[in-house]
């Protein structure tokens, strides 16, 4: 199950040159700065770019071989764009059904009832397209693409035109969608946050090339990963949110191999992401102590084992700590602290995480 792409595209001073095999399981993020060629690559895969020097095949089916080009409408893929792409002369329902009607009955695997409930579209059906909010439009666009039972979904920055509230509204839907529908997705994004929340694999793009393709888990273990450019390294833990009382929430990490899960107190204010499966913790929000401190406002204190120390710059170290559940937590502290505490790999210490730091 792979998407094989070889292409050479020159546009002015820019050259896209790829010869890679992209995974087609779960969500693969194409991550890179704007202008690195990720949208061009996505459009090339979709068949929307007029390029001669390219070969693309998907799971053994040839989509393009030089000038021979399978038209977009016969590639059976779902496209979702950055801005609203709903057909303005059609109702929400007609938009949803546009592709479904054109999909041969024998190829339909996803049906309107399923997709409507997956994306909570029932309330929107009767509305006119132009009355929908940005987040609602993208939900309809996702549903419309899914209803063609595509072999592959191509998402071109589907969240970047949305405000924070709309992003929060749509993220939970998106995060489970590939798993629940079985449709692999290729997500173009320049946001490390989106990669951390959604991706299973990441393809890092730079100046028209794919530098590296690796599972998100591995990408997150490298403190110098391009994902950490903005706010420094962060750990992304898997698990689920749980309400423990009035306005009190806990993130329970996924234990595994007989290991116990770890519980993080989460600030209630933003805990309405009930279907959030990933918790992002910035390394700079995690401190380390040799023993469990008393009389401190920090509510998350968990025993960890130091696995690796890395010098991030002149003054600071990034320390990889293994949690009881087996997942990694990153901590960024000064070199002086490391020396004063005498931290070395293998040490058992206590990680202190502010609960406010757990959610934005």
């Amino acid at each position: 199950m792979t998407l094989q792409v070889r292409a050479r595209v020159r546009r002015g001073g820019f050259t896209l040159a790829v010869n890679d095999s992209l995974p087609t399981q779960g969500i693969t993020a194409l991550f890179g700065r704007s202008g690195c060629g990720k949208t061009t690559l996505l459009r090339l895969i979709a068949g929307l770019e007029n390029v001669k020097d390219a070969e693309i095949s998907f799971n053994g089916e040839t989509w393009q071989a030089g000038r021979r080009n399978l038209p977009v409408n016969r590639r059976r893929l779902g496209l979702v764009f950055q801005e609203s792409s709903l057909l303005p002369h059609l109702s929400v329902e007609a938009n949803l059904m546009y592709g479904y009607r054109r999909t041969p009955a024998s190829l339909r695997r996803l049906h309107p009832d399923t997709v409507r409930s997956l994306l909570a579209l029932d309330d929107l059906l009767g509305q006119a397209v132009h009355t929908l909010s940005g987040g609602q439009r993208q939900r309809v666009a996702l549903g419309r693409a899914l209803l063609t039972s595509p072999q592959l979904m191509l998402l071109d920055e589907p969240l970047s035109a949305l405000d924070t509230a709309a992003k929060r509204e749509i993220l939970p839907f998106l995060s489970g969608l590939s798993t629940s529908t079985g449709v692999p997705m290729l997500l173009v994004t320049h946001s490390a946050r989106e990669v951390e929340q959604l991706a299973d694999q990441v393809a890092f793009m730079e100046q028209g090339r794919i530098e590296r393709i690796e599972p998100l888990r591995e990408a997150l273990t490298r403190p110098d990963s391009p994902l950490f450019n903005d706010e420094g390294p962060a750990a992304v833990l898997e698990g689920h949110l749980q309400e423990t009382g009035e306005g009190e929430w806990q993130f329970v990490t996924r234990g595994g191999d007989g290991r116990p899960p770890v519980h993080f107190q989460v600030s209630g204010q933003s805990a309405h992401h009930t279907s959030l499966h990933r918790l992002r913790i910035l390394a700079s929000d995690v401190s380390l102590a040799l023993t469990r401190p008393e009389g401190i406002s920090i509510r998350n204190m968990m025993p960890v084992k130091i696995e690796r120390l890395e010098q991030s710059d002149e003054h600071r170290c990034t320390i990889s700590c293994r949690l009881a559940d087996g997942q990694l937590l990153l901590s960024r502290i000064t070199r002086q602290s490391v020396e004063e505490l005498g931290l070395t790999p293998g040490d058992a210490v206590v990680a202190l995480v502010k609960s406010a730091a757990l959610m934005e």
């Binding site: 409408n73 893929l77 496209l79 764009f81 057909l87 303005p88 002369h89 693409a145 063609t148």
Partner: protein, 228 residues
């Protein structure tokens, strides 16, 4: 209202037939041409654009003159047709139909080009990704979303063909029932000093043209209002 003569009626019939056929043919030809112009950035685009706009600039007599040469019995097109057992096109209805299509081309292409540019490529890409083939996309996306552009293109083409004179006179002459359209007949009346006859047709055309344009523009505004 003064009575129209049988010759008047004949000219009206020829004119309406010419305008209707020209409009129909041009909508079919101009749609792919305008789409190509709206979405391609190849060097040939500029040349094609200039060719399309040529009838706007050239005196109709120039266009008519070259068409007469090309379509006539000694021209390349006329000779090819005769070699195929057909007749050449000078001084025939088919000839002035070809001329009208070329002469009114920019009036069909321009509004469609505007409409297609305004539409952008996105809705069509979306429809393609949803499994719609080229004709399906034309009828379910482009036509409904560019309705205004098509109405304006059809109207302008029709009205412009109605007002065609120089090209027809050069290429078609004034053969009643064949190439004698209203504008030519009015000219003939005026030449013959029959001002009353020229006047009743001219006034009729003036009113007709005005009513058509007002109707269409008001329709068009209503359509625009429907679009979000």
């Amino acid at each position: 209202m003064p009575e129209l003569s049988p010759q008047d009626w004949q000219a009206i019939a020829v004119t309406l037939k010419l305008c209707a056929l020209t409009t129909a043919i041009l909508l079919v030809l101009a749609t792919p041409l305008a789409w190509w112009l709206a979405h391609r950035q190849s060097p040939s685009r500029t040349v094609v654009q200039a060719l399309v706009a040529l009838p706007l600039v050239l005196p109709p007599t120039v266009l008519g003159f070259y068409l007469l040469i090309a379509l006539g019995p000694r021209g390349p097109v006329g000779q090819t047709l005769e070699a195929m057992g057909l007749t050449h096109l000078a001084f025939s209805f088919e000839g002035i139909l070809v001329a009208s299509v070329i002469y009114s081309l920019p009036f069909a292409v321009q509004p469609l080009l505007e409409a297609f540019r305004h539409l952008g490529a996105r809705p069509v890409e979306v429809a393609a990704s949803l499994g719609a083939g080229p004709l399906d996309r034309l009828f379910t996306v482009i036509l409904p979303l560019c309705r205004g552009g098509f109405i304006v293109a059809a109207t302008l083409t029709f009205a412009h063909t109605l007002g065609e004179f120089g090209v027809i006179l050069m290429l078609g002459g004034s053969i009643p029932g064949e190439t004698q359209v209203l504008s030519v007949l009015i000219y003939d009346y005026a030449e013959a000093m029959d001002y009353a006859a020229a006047h009743r047709l001219s006034l009729g055309l003036l009113i007709f043209a005005f009513v058509v344009l007002v109707t269409v523009y008001s329709f068009n505004r209503r359509f625009d209002g429907v679009r979000p």
